[in-house]
Symmetry: C2
Subunit: 313 residues, 2 copies
Protein backbone atom coordinates (compact mmCIF):
# COMPACT_ATOMS: atom_id res chain seq x y z
CA UNK A 1 0.00 0.00 0.00
CA UNK A 2 3.02 2.28 0.06
CA UNK A 3 4.26 2.08 -3.50
CA UNK A 4 5.56 5.30 -4.93
CA UNK A 5 3.30 5.80 -7.93
CA UNK A 6 4.57 6.37 -11.47
CA UNK A 7 2.78 7.99 -14.39
CA UNK A 8 3.90 8.09 -18.03
CA UNK A 9 2.12 9.51 -21.06
CA UNK A 10 2.88 9.81 -24.75
CA UNK A 11 1.44 11.81 -27.62
CA UNK A 12 3.03 9.93 -30.49
CA UNK A 13 6.47 9.16 -31.91
CA UNK A 14 7.80 10.06 -35.32
CA UNK A 15 9.17 13.58 -35.12
CA UNK A 16 12.42 14.10 -37.01
CA UNK A 17 14.27 17.16 -35.69
CA UNK A 18 13.62 20.29 -33.59
CA UNK A 19 14.32 22.58 -36.53
CA UNK A 20 11.19 21.31 -38.32
CA UNK A 21 8.73 22.02 -35.50
CA UNK A 22 7.95 25.69 -34.75
CA UNK A 23 9.24 26.78 -31.35
CA UNK A 24 5.81 27.88 -30.17
CA UNK A 25 4.29 24.54 -31.10
CA UNK A 26 7.00 22.76 -29.13
CA UNK A 27 6.36 24.96 -26.13
CA UNK A 28 2.61 24.44 -26.32
CA UNK A 29 2.99 20.65 -26.50
CA UNK A 30 5.41 20.52 -23.58
CA UNK A 31 3.15 22.70 -21.52
CA UNK A 32 0.14 20.44 -22.22
CA UNK A 33 2.09 17.27 -21.49
CA UNK A 34 3.31 18.66 -18.15
CA UNK A 35 -0.17 19.77 -17.17
CA UNK A 36 -1.65 16.32 -17.88
CA UNK A 37 1.16 14.61 -15.98
CA UNK A 38 0.70 16.96 -13.04
CA UNK A 39 -3.07 16.45 -12.80
CA UNK A 40 -2.93 12.68 -13.25
CA UNK A 41 -0.02 12.21 -10.88
CA UNK A 42 -2.04 14.05 -8.28
CA UNK A 43 -4.76 11.41 -8.75
CA UNK A 44 -2.23 8.63 -8.15
CA UNK A 45 -0.93 10.39 -5.04
CA UNK A 46 -4.52 10.54 -3.81
CA UNK A 47 -4.75 6.75 -4.15
CA UNK A 48 -6.69 6.58 -7.42
CA UNK A 49 -6.33 3.18 -9.10
CA UNK A 50 -3.92 3.02 -12.05
CA UNK A 51 -6.83 2.11 -14.32
CA UNK A 52 -8.70 5.34 -13.51
CA UNK A 53 -5.57 7.39 -14.01
CA UNK A 54 -4.56 6.04 -17.41
CA UNK A 55 -8.14 6.55 -18.57
CA UNK A 56 -8.10 10.14 -17.30
CA UNK A 57 -4.72 10.86 -18.90
CA UNK A 58 -5.84 9.47 -22.26
CA UNK A 59 -9.11 11.43 -22.01
CA UNK A 60 -7.08 14.63 -21.67
CA UNK A 61 -4.86 13.67 -24.60
CA UNK A 62 -7.94 12.77 -26.66
CA UNK A 63 -9.48 16.16 -25.86
CA UNK A 64 -6.36 18.08 -26.93
CA UNK A 65 -6.32 18.92 -30.66
CA UNK A 66 -2.52 18.67 -30.78
CA UNK A 67 -2.63 14.89 -30.64
CA UNK A 68 -4.04 12.26 -33.01
CA UNK A 69 -6.86 10.77 -30.93
CA UNK A 70 -10.38 11.96 -30.11
CA UNK A 71 -10.73 15.66 -31.03
CA UNK A 72 -8.06 16.43 -33.62
CA UNK A 73 -7.78 12.88 -34.96
CA UNK A 74 -6.31 12.54 -38.42
CA UNK A 75 -8.79 11.98 -41.23
CA UNK A 76 -9.29 8.85 -43.35
CA UNK A 77 -9.75 8.75 -47.12
CA UNK A 78 -13.52 9.31 -46.91
CA UNK A 79 -13.23 12.55 -44.92
CA UNK A 80 -14.18 11.01 -41.57
CA UNK A 81 -12.01 10.02 -38.65
CA UNK A 82 -12.05 6.51 -37.20
CA UNK A 83 -10.91 5.66 -33.68
CA UNK A 84 -9.08 2.61 -32.36
CA UNK A 85 -8.41 2.25 -28.63
CA UNK A 86 -7.55 -0.34 -26.00
CA UNK A 87 -7.12 -0.49 -22.25
CA UNK A 88 -5.87 -3.21 -19.88
CA UNK A 89 -6.01 -3.60 -16.11
CA UNK A 90 -3.17 -5.42 -14.38
CA UNK A 91 -5.20 -5.98 -11.24
CA UNK A 92 -7.80 -8.17 -12.99
CA UNK A 93 -6.02 -9.08 -16.23
CA UNK A 94 -9.09 -7.83 -18.09
CA UNK A 95 -8.92 -5.79 -21.30
CA UNK A 96 -11.22 -3.79 -23.57
CA UNK A 97 -10.79 -2.51 -27.11
CA UNK A 98 -12.69 -0.92 -29.94
CA UNK A 99 -12.04 -0.30 -33.64
CA UNK A 100 -13.55 1.98 -36.21
CA UNK A 101 -15.81 4.18 -34.08
CA UNK A 102 -16.73 7.53 -35.65
CA UNK A 103 -19.08 9.09 -33.12
CA UNK A 104 -17.32 8.69 -29.79
CA UNK A 105 -15.73 11.69 -28.11
CA UNK A 106 -13.51 9.65 -25.79
CA UNK A 107 -12.88 6.20 -27.22
CA UNK A 108 -10.76 5.01 -24.29
CA UNK A 109 -13.70 5.40 -21.90
CA UNK A 110 -15.89 3.24 -24.13
CA UNK A 111 -13.08 0.66 -24.38
CA UNK A 112 -13.04 0.55 -20.59
CA UNK A 113 -16.80 -0.04 -20.47
CA UNK A 114 -16.43 -2.87 -23.01
CA UNK A 115 -13.94 -4.41 -20.58
CA UNK A 116 -16.13 -3.92 -17.55
CA UNK A 117 -19.65 -4.33 -18.84
CA UNK A 118 -19.45 -7.05 -21.50
CA UNK A 119 -17.93 -10.54 -21.52
CA UNK A 120 -15.90 -9.38 -24.54
CA UNK A 121 -12.54 -7.79 -25.23
CA UNK A 122 -13.16 -6.17 -28.61
CA UNK A 123 -16.11 -4.56 -30.38
CA UNK A 124 -15.94 -2.99 -33.84
CA UNK A 125 -17.84 -0.53 -36.03
CA UNK A 126 -21.48 0.42 -35.53
CA UNK A 127 -21.84 -1.96 -32.62
CA UNK A 128 -19.44 0.23 -30.64
CA UNK A 129 -21.94 3.07 -30.99
CA UNK A 130 -24.88 0.89 -29.99
CA UNK A 131 -22.98 -0.31 -26.96
CA UNK A 132 -21.88 3.22 -26.02
CA UNK A 133 -25.45 4.50 -26.13
CA UNK A 134 -26.61 1.60 -23.95
CA UNK A 135 -23.99 2.67 -21.41
CA UNK A 136 -25.15 6.28 -21.37
CA UNK A 137 -22.52 7.82 -23.64
CA UNK A 138 -23.72 10.52 -25.99
CA UNK A 139 -22.90 10.01 -29.64
CA UNK A 140 -21.44 13.03 -31.39
CA UNK A 141 -21.23 13.96 -35.05
CA UNK A 142 -17.96 12.94 -36.66
CA UNK A 143 -17.41 16.57 -37.75
CA UNK A 144 -17.11 17.56 -34.11
CA UNK A 145 -13.84 15.62 -33.96
CA UNK A 146 -12.29 17.32 -37.00
CA UNK A 147 -9.97 20.32 -36.88
CA UNK A 148 -9.01 22.73 -39.66
CA UNK A 149 -5.46 21.52 -39.43
CA UNK A 150 -6.42 17.87 -40.02
CA UNK A 151 -8.70 18.81 -42.92
CA UNK A 152 -5.86 20.64 -44.66
CA UNK A 153 -3.51 17.74 -43.93
CA UNK A 154 -5.96 15.33 -45.62
CA UNK A 155 -6.31 17.64 -48.64
CA UNK A 156 -2.55 17.81 -49.06
CA UNK A 157 -2.33 14.04 -48.68
CA UNK A 158 -5.06 13.41 -51.24
CA UNK A 159 -3.44 15.83 -53.68
CA UNK A 160 -0.44 13.54 -53.70
CA UNK A 161 -2.69 10.46 -53.62
CA UNK A 162 -0.54 8.90 -50.95
CA UNK A 163 -1.32 6.82 -47.91
CA UNK A 164 0.24 8.62 -45.01
CA UNK A 165 1.22 7.93 -41.51
CA UNK A 166 -0.42 10.45 -39.21
CA UNK A 167 2.96 12.09 -38.86
CA UNK A 168 3.72 12.38 -42.54
CA UNK A 169 2.88 15.39 -44.61
CA UNK A 170 2.57 16.31 -48.25
CA UNK A 171 2.98 19.76 -49.75
CA UNK A 172 3.40 20.37 -53.44
CA UNK A 173 4.17 16.71 -54.02
CA UNK A 174 6.52 16.50 -51.05
CA UNK A 175 5.96 14.29 -48.04
CA UNK A 176 3.97 15.78 -45.19
CA UNK A 177 6.47 17.13 -42.71
CA UNK A 178 7.40 14.56 -40.10
CA UNK A 179 6.53 17.30 -37.63
CA UNK A 180 2.89 16.83 -38.53
CA UNK A 181 3.19 13.50 -36.79
CA UNK A 182 1.02 13.64 -33.75
CA UNK A 183 0.67 9.89 -33.44
CA UNK A 184 -1.18 7.77 -31.06
CA UNK A 185 -1.66 8.79 -27.45
CA UNK A 186 -1.22 6.59 -24.43
CA UNK A 187 -0.57 6.28 -20.74
CA UNK A 188 0.80 3.69 -18.31
CA UNK A 189 0.73 3.89 -14.52
CA UNK A 190 1.74 2.15 -11.32
CA UNK A 191 -0.53 3.06 -8.40
CA UNK A 192 0.08 3.06 -4.65
CA UNK A 193 -1.52 -0.40 -4.42
CA UNK A 194 1.08 -1.88 -6.75
CA UNK A 195 -1.33 -2.29 -9.65
CA UNK A 196 -0.39 -1.50 -13.24
CA UNK A 197 -2.59 -0.28 -16.12
CA UNK A 198 -2.14 0.87 -19.72
CA UNK A 199 -4.29 2.67 -22.28
CA UNK A 200 -3.78 3.61 -25.93
CA UNK A 201 -5.99 5.62 -28.31
CA UNK A 202 -5.58 6.83 -31.89
CA UNK A 203 -7.15 8.25 -35.01
CA UNK A 204 -4.86 6.15 -37.20
CA UNK A 205 -3.30 7.30 -40.46
CA UNK A 206 -3.95 10.35 -42.65
CA UNK A 207 -5.90 9.38 -45.78
CA UNK A 208 -6.08 5.73 -44.66
CA UNK A 209 -8.48 3.05 -45.87
CA UNK A 210 -11.55 3.38 -43.70
CA UNK A 211 -11.31 -0.21 -42.41
CA UNK A 212 -7.62 -0.21 -41.49
CA UNK A 213 -6.89 -1.07 -37.87
CA UNK A 214 -3.45 -0.57 -36.35
CA UNK A 215 -1.79 -1.75 -33.16
CA UNK A 216 -3.54 0.71 -30.85
CA UNK A 217 -6.61 -1.55 -30.64
CA UNK A 218 -4.67 -4.78 -30.21
CA UNK A 219 -4.01 -6.28 -26.78
CA UNK A 220 -0.42 -7.55 -26.97
CA UNK A 221 0.69 -5.08 -29.66
CA UNK A 222 -0.33 -1.52 -28.76
CA UNK A 223 -1.30 -2.21 -25.17
CA UNK A 224 -0.37 -4.89 -22.65
CA UNK A 225 -0.26 -5.22 -18.88
CA UNK A 226 0.75 -8.00 -16.52
CA UNK A 227 0.88 -7.01 -12.85
CA UNK A 228 3.86 -9.36 -12.41
CA UNK A 229 5.92 -7.68 -15.14
CA UNK A 230 4.98 -4.35 -16.71
CA UNK A 231 2.49 -2.05 -18.42
CA UNK A 232 3.22 -0.93 -22.00
CA UNK A 233 1.62 1.52 -24.46
CA UNK A 234 3.26 1.86 -27.86
CA UNK A 235 3.19 4.29 -30.77
CA UNK A 236 4.60 4.12 -34.26
CA UNK A 237 4.24 2.07 -37.43
CA UNK A 238 1.18 0.06 -36.40
CA UNK A 239 1.63 -2.86 -38.76
CA UNK A 240 5.21 -3.42 -37.60
CA UNK A 241 4.10 -3.35 -33.96
CA UNK A 242 1.30 -5.85 -34.71
CA UNK A 243 3.53 -8.38 -36.48
CA UNK A 244 6.06 -8.21 -33.63
CA UNK A 245 3.46 -8.17 -30.81
CA UNK A 246 5.63 -5.44 -29.31
CA UNK A 247 3.88 -4.79 -25.99
CA UNK A 248 3.60 -8.41 -24.86
CA UNK A 249 7.06 -9.23 -26.22
CA UNK A 250 8.54 -6.83 -23.66
CA UNK A 251 6.51 -8.44 -20.89
CA UNK A 252 7.56 -11.94 -21.98
CA UNK A 253 11.24 -10.95 -22.20
CA UNK A 254 10.97 -9.95 -18.54
CA UNK A 255 8.89 -12.98 -17.51
CA UNK A 256 10.71 -15.72 -19.43
CA UNK A 257 14.05 -14.08 -20.24
CA UNK A 258 14.69 -12.41 -16.90
CA UNK A 259 15.52 -9.08 -18.52
CA UNK A 260 14.98 -5.73 -16.83
CA UNK A 261 12.21 -3.52 -18.23
CA UNK A 262 14.67 -1.09 -19.79
CA UNK A 263 16.75 -3.81 -21.44
CA UNK A 264 13.68 -5.63 -22.71
CA UNK A 265 12.10 -2.48 -24.14
CA UNK A 266 15.34 -1.40 -25.79
CA UNK A 267 15.92 -4.84 -27.28
CA UNK A 268 12.42 -5.07 -28.75
CA UNK A 269 12.65 -1.60 -30.33
CA UNK A 270 16.06 -2.44 -31.80
CA UNK A 271 14.64 -5.55 -33.45
CA UNK A 272 12.20 -3.41 -35.45
CA UNK A 273 13.05 -1.56 -38.67
CA UNK A 274 14.69 1.78 -37.87
CA UNK A 275 12.45 4.69 -36.93
CA UNK A 276 9.49 2.36 -36.30
CA UNK A 277 8.36 4.35 -33.26
CA UNK A 278 8.47 4.24 -29.50
CA UNK A 279 6.72 3.23 -26.32
CA UNK A 280 6.23 3.98 -22.66
CA UNK A 281 6.53 1.29 -20.00
CA UNK A 282 6.60 0.91 -16.23
CA UNK A 283 7.27 -2.21 -14.19
CA UNK A 284 5.90 -3.40 -10.84
CA UNK A 285 8.90 -1.93 -9.00
CA UNK A 286 8.33 1.51 -10.48
CA UNK A 287 11.19 1.33 -12.98
CA UNK A 288 10.15 3.01 -16.19
CA UNK A 289 11.37 3.97 -19.65
CA UNK A 290 10.20 5.97 -22.66
CA UNK A 291 12.40 4.76 -25.54
CA UNK A 292 11.88 5.63 -29.21
CA UNK A 293 13.76 5.21 -32.46
CA UNK A 294 12.20 8.21 -34.21
CA UNK A 295 13.71 11.69 -33.97
CA UNK A 296 11.31 12.64 -31.20
CA UNK A 297 8.34 11.46 -29.16
CA UNK A 298 5.87 13.66 -27.27
CA UNK A 299 6.10 12.30 -23.75
CA UNK A 300 5.79 13.14 -20.11
CA UNK A 301 6.31 11.46 -16.77
CA UNK A 302 6.38 11.83 -13.02
CA UNK A 303 7.53 9.50 -10.28
CA UNK A 304 7.35 11.91 -7.37
CA UNK A 305 9.36 14.93 -8.46
CA UNK A 306 8.42 17.71 -10.86
CA UNK A 307 6.28 16.71 -13.85
CA UNK A 308 8.45 16.36 -16.95
CA UNK A 309 7.43 17.02 -20.57
CA UNK A 310 9.81 16.23 -23.43
CA UNK A 311 9.87 15.96 -27.21
CA UNK A 312 13.43 15.27 -28.39
CA UNK A 313 16.11 12.81 -27.33
CA UNK B 1 15.22 -28.27 -48.91
CA UNK B 2 14.76 -31.73 -47.45
CA UNK B 3 12.54 -31.05 -44.45
CA UNK B 4 9.88 -33.64 -43.82
CA UNK B 5 6.71 -31.56 -44.00
CA UNK B 6 4.07 -31.49 -41.27
CA UNK B 7 0.42 -30.51 -41.52
CA UNK B 8 -2.05 -29.99 -38.70
CA UNK B 9 -5.68 -28.85 -38.83
CA UNK B 10 -8.41 -28.22 -36.30
CA UNK B 11 -12.16 -27.75 -36.48
CA UNK B 12 -12.73 -26.35 -33.01
CA UNK B 13 -12.38 -27.38 -29.38
CA UNK B 14 -15.13 -27.63 -26.81
CA UNK B 15 -16.72 -31.03 -27.14
CA UNK B 16 -17.56 -32.70 -23.85
CA UNK B 17 -17.92 -36.46 -24.29
CA UNK B 18 -18.43 -39.07 -27.06
CA UNK B 19 -21.82 -40.06 -25.69
CA UNK B 20 -23.26 -36.66 -26.59
CA UNK B 21 -22.25 -36.66 -30.25
CA UNK B 22 -24.10 -39.09 -32.56
CA UNK B 23 -21.85 -41.83 -33.87
CA UNK B 24 -22.59 -40.97 -37.51
CA UNK B 25 -21.67 -37.35 -36.93
CA UNK B 26 -18.38 -38.41 -35.36
CA UNK B 27 -17.63 -40.64 -38.31
CA UNK B 28 -18.49 -37.93 -40.82
CA UNK B 29 -16.23 -35.39 -39.09
CA UNK B 30 -13.31 -37.79 -38.87
CA UNK B 31 -13.70 -38.71 -42.50
CA UNK B 32 -13.69 -35.03 -43.55
CA UNK B 33 -10.70 -34.21 -41.36
CA UNK B 34 -8.69 -37.12 -42.82
CA UNK B 35 -9.59 -36.15 -46.37
CA UNK B 36 -8.44 -32.56 -45.86
CA UNK B 37 -5.22 -33.70 -44.21
CA UNK B 38 -4.55 -36.14 -47.04
CA UNK B 39 -5.11 -33.58 -49.81
CA UNK B 40 -3.14 -30.83 -48.12
CA UNK B 41 -0.27 -33.08 -47.10
CA UNK B 42 0.01 -34.08 -50.72
CA UNK B 43 0.50 -30.39 -51.55
CA UNK B 44 3.32 -30.16 -49.01
CA UNK B 45 4.94 -33.30 -50.40
CA UNK B 46 4.80 -31.68 -53.83
CA UNK B 47 6.77 -28.71 -52.46
CA UNK B 48 3.89 -26.26 -52.02
CA UNK B 49 4.79 -23.45 -49.60
CA UNK B 50 3.33 -23.77 -46.08
CA UNK B 51 1.39 -20.54 -46.66
CA UNK B 52 -0.47 -22.00 -49.67
CA UNK B 53 -1.22 -25.19 -47.78
CA UNK B 54 -2.68 -23.63 -44.64
CA UNK B 55 -4.82 -21.42 -46.84
CA UNK B 56 -6.04 -24.45 -48.81
CA UNK B 57 -6.74 -26.43 -45.63
CA UNK B 58 -8.72 -23.58 -44.09
CA UNK B 59 -10.63 -23.07 -47.37
CA UNK B 60 -11.75 -26.70 -47.19
CA UNK B 61 -12.75 -26.34 -43.54
CA UNK B 62 -14.60 -23.08 -44.36
CA UNK B 63 -16.46 -24.85 -47.17
CA UNK B 64 -17.56 -27.73 -44.91
CA UNK B 65 -20.85 -27.03 -43.09
CA UNK B 66 -19.76 -29.11 -40.09
CA UNK B 67 -17.38 -26.41 -38.91
CA UNK B 68 -17.95 -22.85 -37.70
CA UNK B 69 -16.28 -20.80 -40.45
CA UNK B 70 -17.35 -19.81 -43.95
CA UNK B 71 -20.36 -21.91 -45.01
CA UNK B 72 -22.04 -23.15 -41.84
CA UNK B 73 -20.83 -20.31 -39.62
CA UNK B 74 -22.80 -19.74 -36.44
CA UNK B 75 -25.24 -16.84 -36.52
CA UNK B 76 -25.07 -13.57 -34.59
CA UNK B 77 -27.96 -11.87 -32.77
CA UNK B 78 -29.17 -10.07 -35.92
CA UNK B 79 -29.56 -13.25 -37.95
CA UNK B 80 -26.38 -12.77 -40.00
CA UNK B 81 -23.02 -14.42 -39.66
CA UNK B 82 -19.81 -12.42 -39.27
CA UNK B 83 -16.36 -13.74 -40.10
CA UNK B 84 -13.02 -13.15 -38.39
CA UNK B 85 -9.82 -14.61 -39.85
CA UNK B 86 -6.06 -14.22 -39.77
CA UNK B 87 -3.04 -15.70 -41.49
CA UNK B 88 0.71 -15.36 -40.94
CA UNK B 89 3.72 -16.34 -43.01
CA UNK B 90 6.89 -17.38 -41.20
CA UNK B 91 9.04 -16.84 -44.29
CA UNK B 92 8.34 -13.11 -44.46
CA UNK B 93 6.96 -12.38 -41.00
CA UNK B 94 3.96 -10.76 -42.69
CA UNK B 95 0.38 -11.17 -41.50
CA UNK B 96 -3.15 -10.39 -42.65
CA UNK B 97 -6.46 -10.32 -40.80
CA UNK B 98 -10.07 -9.29 -41.18
CA UNK B 99 -13.02 -8.83 -38.84
CA UNK B 100 -16.73 -8.62 -39.34
CA UNK B 101 -17.11 -9.57 -43.00
CA UNK B 102 -20.56 -10.84 -44.00
CA UNK B 103 -20.24 -11.43 -47.73
CA UNK B 104 -17.03 -13.39 -48.15
CA UNK B 105 -17.15 -17.09 -48.98
CA UNK B 106 -13.57 -17.80 -47.90
CA UNK B 107 -12.38 -15.22 -45.39
CA UNK B 108 -8.89 -16.68 -45.03
CA UNK B 109 -8.15 -16.03 -48.71
CA UNK B 110 -9.11 -12.38 -48.33
CA UNK B 111 -6.96 -12.15 -45.17
CA UNK B 112 -4.05 -13.45 -47.23
CA UNK B 113 -4.63 -10.78 -49.88
CA UNK B 114 -4.73 -8.09 -47.17
CA UNK B 115 -1.28 -9.36 -46.14
CA UNK B 116 0.10 -9.46 -49.65
CA UNK B 117 -1.61 -6.57 -51.41
CA UNK B 118 -1.89 -3.82 -48.81
CA UNK B 119 0.62 -2.26 -46.43
CA UNK B 120 -1.78 -3.25 -43.62
CA UNK B 121 -2.33 -6.17 -41.28
CA UNK B 122 -6.02 -5.74 -40.43
CA UNK B 123 -9.13 -4.47 -42.20
CA UNK B 124 -12.62 -4.48 -40.70
CA UNK B 125 -16.27 -4.28 -41.75
CA UNK B 126 -17.47 -2.94 -45.09
CA UNK B 127 -13.94 -2.06 -46.15
CA UNK B 128 -13.14 -5.78 -46.25
CA UNK B 129 -15.81 -6.17 -48.93
CA UNK B 130 -14.53 -3.18 -50.91
CA UNK B 131 -11.02 -4.56 -50.77
CA UNK B 132 -12.15 -8.07 -51.72
CA UNK B 133 -13.98 -6.78 -54.79
CA UNK B 134 -10.93 -4.78 -55.85
CA UNK B 135 -8.95 -8.02 -55.72
CA UNK B 136 -11.42 -9.91 -57.88
CA UNK B 137 -13.33 -11.79 -55.18
CA UNK B 138 -17.05 -12.16 -55.74
CA UNK B 139 -19.26 -11.00 -52.87
CA UNK B 140 -21.97 -13.42 -51.87
CA UNK B 141 -25.23 -12.92 -49.99
CA UNK B 142 -24.93 -13.60 -46.28
CA UNK B 143 -27.78 -16.12 -46.55
CA UNK B 144 -25.57 -18.30 -48.72
CA UNK B 145 -23.38 -18.96 -45.67
CA UNK B 146 -26.28 -20.01 -43.40
CA UNK B 147 -27.35 -23.60 -42.80
CA UNK B 148 -30.64 -24.91 -41.39
CA UNK B 149 -28.76 -26.30 -38.45
CA UNK B 150 -27.25 -22.92 -37.53
CA UNK B 151 -30.60 -21.17 -37.94
CA UNK B 152 -32.23 -23.58 -35.49
CA UNK B 153 -29.29 -23.19 -33.11
CA UNK B 154 -29.78 -19.41 -33.13
CA UNK B 155 -33.51 -19.77 -32.52
CA UNK B 156 -32.90 -22.02 -29.54
CA UNK B 157 -30.27 -19.61 -28.26
CA UNK B 158 -32.55 -16.60 -28.62
CA UNK B 159 -35.39 -18.43 -26.90
CA UNK B 160 -33.21 -18.64 -23.83
CA UNK B 161 -31.89 -15.10 -24.44
CA UNK B 162 -28.35 -16.24 -23.80
CA UNK B 163 -25.04 -15.36 -25.36
CA UNK B 164 -23.55 -18.61 -26.49
CA UNK B 165 -20.24 -19.98 -27.50
CA UNK B 166 -20.50 -21.58 -30.91
CA UNK B 167 -20.32 -24.94 -29.19
CA UNK B 168 -23.03 -24.29 -26.64
CA UNK B 169 -26.63 -25.21 -27.17
CA UNK B 170 -29.99 -24.39 -25.66
CA UNK B 171 -33.09 -26.56 -25.70
CA UNK B 172 -36.08 -25.98 -23.49
CA UNK B 173 -34.11 -23.66 -21.27
CA UNK B 174 -31.09 -25.94 -21.16
CA UNK B 175 -27.70 -25.07 -22.55
CA UNK B 176 -27.04 -25.90 -26.18
CA UNK B 177 -25.32 -29.28 -26.20
CA UNK B 178 -21.57 -28.95 -26.02
CA UNK B 179 -21.57 -31.22 -29.05
CA UNK B 180 -22.98 -28.36 -31.09
CA UNK B 181 -19.58 -26.78 -30.65
CA UNK B 182 -17.98 -26.62 -34.03
CA UNK B 183 -15.58 -23.87 -33.11
CA UNK B 184 -13.02 -22.07 -35.07
CA UNK B 185 -11.06 -23.77 -37.80
CA UNK B 186 -7.34 -23.53 -38.40
CA UNK B 187 -4.21 -25.02 -39.86
CA UNK B 188 -0.46 -24.87 -39.29
CA UNK B 189 2.23 -26.31 -41.53
CA UNK B 190 5.96 -26.82 -41.96
CA UNK B 191 6.96 -27.13 -45.60
CA UNK B 192 9.94 -28.82 -47.26
CA UNK B 193 11.76 -25.48 -47.36
CA UNK B 194 11.63 -25.17 -43.57
CA UNK B 195 9.04 -22.39 -43.60
CA UNK B 196 6.14 -22.25 -41.16
CA UNK B 197 2.65 -20.77 -41.64
CA UNK B 198 -0.60 -20.60 -39.69
CA UNK B 199 -4.21 -19.66 -40.49
CA UNK B 200 -7.37 -19.34 -38.40
CA UNK B 201 -10.97 -18.58 -39.43
CA UNK B 202 -14.26 -18.43 -37.54
CA UNK B 203 -17.87 -17.37 -37.47
CA UNK B 204 -17.61 -16.49 -33.78
CA UNK B 205 -20.32 -17.10 -31.20
CA UNK B 206 -23.97 -18.11 -31.53
CA UNK B 207 -26.27 -15.13 -30.87
CA UNK B 208 -23.28 -12.82 -30.34
CA UNK B 209 -23.23 -9.02 -30.51
CA UNK B 210 -22.64 -8.16 -34.15
CA UNK B 211 -19.45 -6.20 -33.40
CA UNK B 212 -17.75 -8.76 -31.17
CA UNK B 213 -14.31 -9.88 -32.35
CA UNK B 214 -12.52 -12.86 -30.82
CA UNK B 215 -8.97 -14.17 -30.96
CA UNK B 216 -9.22 -15.68 -34.44
CA UNK B 217 -8.54 -12.29 -36.04
CA UNK B 218 -5.74 -11.32 -33.68
CA UNK B 219 -2.08 -11.86 -34.57
CA UNK B 220 -0.49 -13.05 -31.33
CA UNK B 221 -3.67 -14.54 -29.87
CA UNK B 222 -5.44 -16.77 -32.40
CA UNK B 223 -2.60 -16.96 -34.91
CA UNK B 224 1.16 -16.51 -34.67
CA UNK B 225 4.22 -17.68 -36.58
CA UNK B 226 7.94 -17.17 -36.16
CA UNK B 227 10.11 -19.23 -38.47
CA UNK B 228 12.68 -19.53 -35.65
CA UNK B 229 10.19 -21.00 -33.19
CA UNK B 230 6.74 -22.25 -34.20
CA UNK B 231 3.39 -21.77 -35.91
CA UNK B 232 0.23 -21.75 -33.76
CA UNK B 233 -3.52 -21.64 -34.45
CA UNK B 234 -5.82 -21.67 -31.43
CA UNK B 235 -9.49 -22.32 -30.72
CA UNK B 236 -11.61 -21.80 -27.64
CA UNK B 237 -12.83 -19.01 -25.40
CA UNK B 238 -11.68 -16.09 -27.57
CA UNK B 239 -11.57 -13.45 -24.85
CA UNK B 240 -9.36 -15.63 -22.63
CA UNK B 241 -7.01 -16.31 -25.52
CA UNK B 242 -6.82 -12.56 -26.31
CA UNK B 243 -5.99 -11.48 -22.75
CA UNK B 244 -3.28 -14.14 -22.52
CA UNK B 245 -1.91 -13.60 -26.06
CA UNK B 246 -1.84 -17.40 -26.25
CA UNK B 247 -0.25 -17.98 -29.65
CA UNK B 248 2.72 -15.62 -29.22
CA UNK B 249 3.15 -16.66 -25.57
CA UNK B 250 4.02 -20.18 -26.74
CA UNK B 251 6.51 -18.78 -29.24
CA UNK B 252 8.09 -16.54 -26.61
CA UNK B 253 8.34 -19.38 -24.07
CA UNK B 254 10.40 -21.25 -26.67
CA UNK B 255 12.42 -18.18 -27.74
CA UNK B 256 13.14 -16.65 -24.32
CA UNK B 257 12.47 -19.55 -21.95
CA UNK B 258 14.14 -22.32 -23.96
CA UNK B 259 11.13 -24.63 -23.60
CA UNK B 260 10.21 -27.28 -26.15
CA UNK B 261 7.08 -26.68 -28.22
CA UNK B 262 5.11 -29.35 -26.37
CA UNK B 263 6.10 -28.09 -22.94
CA UNK B 264 5.40 -24.47 -23.86
CA UNK B 265 2.00 -25.26 -25.37
CA UNK B 266 0.98 -27.41 -22.40
CA UNK B 267 2.12 -24.77 -19.91
CA UNK B 268 0.20 -21.97 -21.61
CA UNK B 269 -3.02 -24.01 -21.80
CA UNK B 270 -2.67 -24.96 -18.12
CA UNK B 271 -2.41 -21.29 -17.16
CA UNK B 272 -5.88 -20.63 -18.62
CA UNK B 273 -9.18 -21.32 -16.83
CA UNK B 274 -10.16 -24.98 -17.24
CA UNK B 275 -11.81 -26.02 -20.49
CA UNK B 276 -10.73 -22.80 -22.23
CA UNK B 277 -9.97 -24.61 -25.48
CA UNK B 278 -7.07 -25.96 -27.47
CA UNK B 279 -4.55 -25.28 -30.20
CA UNK B 280 -2.40 -26.84 -32.89
CA UNK B 281 1.29 -26.02 -33.20
CA UNK B 282 4.36 -27.13 -35.12
CA UNK B 283 7.96 -26.05 -34.65
CA UNK B 284 10.80 -25.55 -37.13
CA UNK B 285 12.12 -29.08 -36.45
CA UNK B 286 8.78 -30.66 -37.26
CA UNK B 287 7.80 -31.37 -33.66
CA UNK B 288 4.10 -30.81 -33.24
CA UNK B 289 1.25 -31.01 -30.73
CA UNK B 290 -2.53 -30.65 -30.62
CA UNK B 291 -3.35 -30.10 -26.94
CA UNK B 292 -6.77 -29.11 -25.57
CA UNK B 293 -8.44 -28.79 -22.21
CA UNK B 294 -11.99 -29.36 -23.46
CA UNK B 295 -13.46 -32.85 -23.71
CA UNK B 296 -12.63 -33.05 -27.39
CA UNK B 297 -11.22 -31.13 -30.34
CA UNK B 298 -11.81 -31.87 -34.02
CA UNK B 299 -8.29 -32.30 -35.34
CA UNK B 300 -6.14 -33.98 -37.91
CA UNK B 301 -2.49 -34.28 -38.80
CA UNK B 302 0.10 -35.92 -40.98
CA UNK B 303 3.89 -35.92 -40.85
CA UNK B 304 4.55 -38.55 -43.46
CA UNK B 305 2.46 -41.56 -42.41
CA UNK B 306 -1.26 -42.13 -42.76
CA UNK B 307 -3.49 -39.05 -42.34
CA UNK B 308 -5.00 -39.00 -38.84
CA UNK B 309 -8.39 -37.57 -37.82
CA UNK B 310 -9.40 -37.43 -34.14
CA UNK B 311 -12.05 -35.95 -31.89
CA UNK B 312 -11.55 -37.22 -28.32
CA UNK B 313 -8.52 -37.44 -26.04
Amino acid sequence: MTNKPVLLIHGGAGLSSPKNLPQERQEEAISVLKKIVKDCYEMLRNKSPALDVVEAAVNMLEDCPLFNAGYGSVIASDGKCYADASIMDGKTGLAGALCGSTQIKNPISVARKIMERTPHVMLIGEDVHQFAVSEGFELIQNEELLTEYRISQLQRAQKSNKLLLDHESVEEGKSLQPEEKMGTVGSVALDVFGNLAAATSTGGLVNKRIGRVGDSAIIGSGTFVNNQTCAVSSTGHGEVFMRHCVAVRISHLMEFGGLSLQTAAQQVLEELPEKSGGLIAVDREGNFCLPFTSGGMFRGFCNGGEPVGLIWK
